[in-house]
């Protein structure tokens, strides 16, 4: 059963099309993360699910109910805003109980729910404070508490951690993950931060320019990006994308010549549609790059910059005589130094092949 079903949903503001046909099914209890660059329409999609934004076409169902044209409160969603959106003149407990009070819930029920939310979020000591007497992290916990007291079918989070500093962000991320485990409700979480997406999500929805690029588990998307956009968006540092050209294609066996580099043979699933002479892109993650002594490797390169991150080393490599730079993530024991003349070796099983259409070609069982 799917708790949130989005079918062919579009959104236009005036003449500008912002959401260009989105289909999604989010099962009950799932933690789904919408991730994508700023301005791609994540918030708009989330706000359409909440009912705060009207839907231009398509349908949205929550549970079995078509909520496409319903007012916000009837969808059974609760939203946590990036700006917290706490009522400044109310105490923490008044903030959490406001909606229930306005809707005439019995006093005992209100107290029970506020107490429960305060316990889950460790807000018991703060119930009488005003928002301005709270730290950023505490404010966001109150905002989450305000969502919890409503017992919503679906929690919606719009970049809830963006206003927090880095260390608090990590801490709140863990708290939100714990919250999901504890109450098990469906949650949809919007972020432009791929680390938040990778760490929190059961499933990630990658959005770009109003369209879904790919949906899958974090590992799925990391290991098998469906296209150049997803490949480049997830992973830090991002995947290296190299120009290459099909040297020969014989059924599923394809050999590809990397510009300034070696000829690589690999096996692609049938229907790859690549022909000899066709340009392609090769993707390789920084941690799949091996540095070898010059002469033994496949592609000569010079080490330009080295960044030490403690447990690992990021090396920026330049191919001699070209403007192209390649980023490698190496063990700290690699001993790489600026100015080293070396050669790049590819771990062929970890190569990704993209056609000129930007779509990935499926690799078959890797024959080293």
């Amino acid at each position: 059963m799917s708790d949130v079903a989005i079918e062919a949903v579009t959104k236009t503001f005036g003449a500008v099309s912002i959401i260009k046909g989105v289909d999604l099914a989010i099962p009950t209890g799932e933690f789904a993360v919408f991730v994508g660059p700023s301005g791609c329409g994540k918030s708009t999609l989330l706000r359409m699910i909440s009912g705060l934004e009207s839907v231009s076409s398509g349908t949205i169902r929550i549970g079995d109910v078509d909520v496409t044209r319903r007012p916000p409160a009837e969808g059974g969603t609760a939203m946590v805003f990036q700006s917290y959106a706490l009522y400044p003149h109310m105490s923490v407990s008044e903030n959490m109980s406001f909606g229930l009070r306005m809707n005439g819930a019995p006093r005992a029920e209100i107290e029970r729910r506020v107490g429960e939310a305060a316990r889950i979020l460790q807000l018991e000591q703060l119930l009488d404070r005003r928002p301005k007497q709270l730290s950023g992290g505490q404010r966001q916990r109150v905002a989450i508490g305000r969502a919890i007291v409503r017992h919503p079918k679906v929690f919606l989070f719009d970049e809830p951690l963006s206003n927090l500093d880095a260390s608090l962000r990590v801490q709140m991320r863990v708290e939100i993950a714990r919250l999901h485990q504890e109450i098990g409700a469906t949650m949809i979480y919007v972020t432009h931060d791929q680390v938040e997406a990778m760490t929190l999500a059961d499933r990630i929805v990658v959005l770009n320019a109003g369209k879904v690029e790919q949906v899958g588990t974090p590992l799925d998307l990391y290991e098998r990006p469906a296209n150049l956009f997803v490949a480049g968006f997830l992973g830090q540092p991002s995947m290296n994308i190299l120009d290459a050209c099909v040297h020969a294609a014989d059924g599923t066996q394809v050999s590809i010549r990397v510009a300034h580099g070696p000829l690589i043979g690999l096996e692609l699933a049938a229907g790859h549609g690549l022909a000899a002479g066709e340009p392609v892109k090769l993707g390789i993650r920084p941690d799949a790059i091996r540095l070898q002594p010059r002469g033994r490797g496949e592609m000569p390169a010079d080490v330009e910059i080295v960044e030490h991150l403690g447990d690992e080393v990021i090396a920026y490599l330049r191919l001699p005589g070209t403007p192209e730079a390649i980023i490698a993530k190496l063990e700290k024991s690699s001993g790489v130094r600026v100015g080293d003349a070396c050669a790049i070796g590819f771990a062929v099983p970890e190569l990704h092949v993209f056609g000129t259409d930007g779509l990935a070609r499926t690799r078959l069982a890797h024959s080293a």
């Binding site: 939203m79 805003f81 009522y87 909606g99 306005m102 005003r130 409503r150």
Partner: protein, 283 residues
């Protein structure tokens, strides 16, 4: 270094000039006021002998006694309250409603309507004096308090709408949206969220409108005839006719007449500066 310090000196020079100018202006403005205030505490004889600014020879309170003994004064004060309180409340209520719609529920063309409403502020009331007189005459409301209540309510709308719209615009949309998602209706959002946050704006408006309407002279002069329909400002002037040149009594009544506006100011000014939105949203 020299450029900076020179600049500072120039600034100081101007500061002194500004200070002197302001002091002179303040004195010019205060002098007659002080004169009137002093005469409130002088006997008629005392007034006739000394000049306007001479100190009273003894603290003389009979002027006040005379005012409080005069039944007309009580009627003037009650009439003024009967005009000022409803008109202040009505103009603020209408401004709040219109301002909320313009700020939070805009519709096609609402910006244009807003401009139209606000431009009413720049409309000299004398232009509509005769049509208004004919209107209220036709309605049979001449020599009642209604024309003043209605006119002040209406003429307060532009300034109240402008101020409330601008204040509501600073109330984050996310607050309204959070409330909507919780099933809170628009009226509850206005009264339980937007208004409590907007206390500073309400306090400014209440003070402004109350003072303005309380001190009005023009409209009561036009629309009232009988003594028991007069407001305090009109009464203040009419005292002269009753008691030849009653400077002392007039001074005393001036003090009494200005008390309500002073009280209103003192009561509301503590809300003026409060930054109520702090802590609502970050950044």
């Amino acid at each position: 270094m020299s450029a900076a310090s020179e600049h500072k000196h120039v600034g100081d020079g101007w500061g002194a000039v500004t200070f002197i100018c302001l002091t002179v202006l303040a004195l010019l403005f205060l002098a007659p006021t002080i004169g009137v205030l002093l005469s409130a505490f002088k006997s008629t004889r005392d007034i006739a002998l000394g000049d306007l600014w001479s100190l009273p020879q003894a603290l003389y309170l009979d002027n006040f006694a005379e005012i409080f003994a005069n039944p007309s004064v009580r009627i003037y004060l009650v009439n003024t309250l009967l005009v000022t309180v409803p008109a202040t409340a009505a103009s603020i209520a209408l401004g709040v409603a219109a301002g909320y719609v313009f700020a939070k529920l805009p519709f096609r063309g609402s910006d244009l309507i807003f401009l139209g409403v606000v431009s009413g502020m720049f409309f000299p009331p004398q232009i509509i004096l005769i049509p208004l007189f004919k209107l209220f005459n036709a309605l049979g409301l001449i020599d009642t308090l209604w024309p003043m209540i209605l006119i002040h309510s209406a003429m307060g709308i532009p300034i109240c709408t402008l101020l409330m719209r601008n204040f509501f615009s600073t109330v984050p949309n996310a607050l309204r949206e959070a409330a909507l998602l919780e099933g809170v209706n628009e009226w509850q959002i206005l009264t339980r969220v937007a208004l409590p946050i907007s206390l500073p704006a309400l306090a400014v408006l209440a003070t402004l409108q109350f003072t303005w309407i309380w001190n009005d002279f023009l409209w009561p002069l036009i629309f009232t005839q009988s003594d028991d329909k007069r407001t305090i400002m009109l009464g203040l002037v009419s005292l002269r006719g009753q008691y030849s040149v009653a400077w002392g009594v007039q001074g005393a009544l001036s003090i009494v007449a200005s008390l309500p506006t002073q009280v209103i100011f003192l009561f509301f000014q503590r809300f003026f500066i409060r930054g109520m939105t702090m802590g609502a949203v970050k950044g």
